[in-house]
Subunit: 210 residues, 2 copies
């Protein structure tokens, strides 16, 4: 048994980069969670700004969430086209990311797929506010599916610095946006979805809502 050399700590290997996002979600291999942990949102209905950050449209919006039984504060939400995660090999038209942070710094992103269908009134309002810093009505509950079943795994930010230590909560059910709304997003960004990253042995859990 070789002893770890505590006098040469700068030579110790440091391994990272194996917990990246997005990943391909597979409903067949996802493990059903043994303990329930419903996601609860109190994000309010007022947004503060809409910026094109060079990575996508970002909406300033504050609020509170209980994710996996802990308290988080919403920082902002933003939109990717097409979706970053896939579900059973399906890519969706878009994916909305609600970025939350806990008091200890822990990041948790709640992701919502969007498929083509009816016009999203709230998203339309967001589009009309691009570049504005004025408060506007923005009910985020209209940007989330009614059924709150979700997939959960540990991953990373999907834009630089790609930091790991991010909890992901991806709703199984998509919301709807119109063809015109997708075209509007694609005019801004032909694509702003990161390539799929390998799961590398990480656990993918599935929580079924009541």
């Amino acid at each position: 048994m070789k002893k770890l050399d505590y006098d040469q700590q700068d030579l110790w290997p440091f391994i990272s980069g194996s917990m990246q996002s997005p990943v391909a979600l597979n409903s067949q291999t996802a493990k059903r969670a043994r303990y329930q942990a419903p996601l609860k949102f109190d994000y309010g209905t007022v947004a503060m700004y809409v910026h094109d950050t060079g990575r996508g449209l970002e909406v300033g919006h504050r609020g509170h969430a209980i994710l996996n039984n802990r308290h988080f504060e919403l920082q902002q939400f933003h939109i990717h086209t097409p979706s970053e995660h896939t579900l059973d090999d399906r890519t969706f038209a878009a994916e909305i990311h609600f970025v939350n942070q806990a008091a200890d710094g822990q990041l948790a992103v709640v992701a919502v797929f969007a498929k083509l269908g009816r016009t999203s009134t709230v998203l339309g309002r967001v589009f009309s506010q691009i570049g504005q810093e004025t408060l506007f009505s923005c009910d985020t509950s209209d940007l989330m599916p009614t059924n709150k079943s979700y997939f959960h795994y540990l991953g990373s930010l999907t834009t630089p610095p790609l930091s790991e230590n991010v909890e992901w909560y991806v709703f199984q059910n998509p919301i709807e946006i119109s063809t015109q709304q997708l075209a509007f997003l694609q005019d801004l960004y032909a694509r702003n979805n990161r390539d799929l990253q390998p799961l590398k042995g990480r656990s993918l859990l599935y929580y079924e809502a009541d």
Copy 2:
């Protein structure tokens, strides 16, 4: 506004290594937690083995814990001499690490400082079982302080691969071990504590037990 180049994703910077452990705990600057999250342990009283792993003494022990309102399973506990974390610049004689994992893979280490004082009966039993693979009585509650106030931050493993994404829960109050027991540990390892790592803007929280 420069747009992020989604056609050259392999050129994106990936930043890591800034959330390492151990760190210097400071009771003056630690932020009092706004939400209570008591730690609850159901680790049982039977251990399975004691190995000298080349990094320290490791005790095989299973059990259940609720940490920050989530379910974790104990994987093992092991001992560092002297302590890895410091508390208000004080280094303790030893530090015991209970390594827990949740269903999503999340690691959480519960750390207990040990100062010189009375003999720890349980630790004595652990010493007598080194190299053994037989079940033995090991009540881990004797290796934890009665008062469960703790410090919490996000860090890393303290031995290679030094992986980040580790939640730390460090009890404020130490347990006691005897001078003879410390000498026994130091005979095995003159030292097996990693150097202090910079906090680099991370939040350090303090939870006061009832």
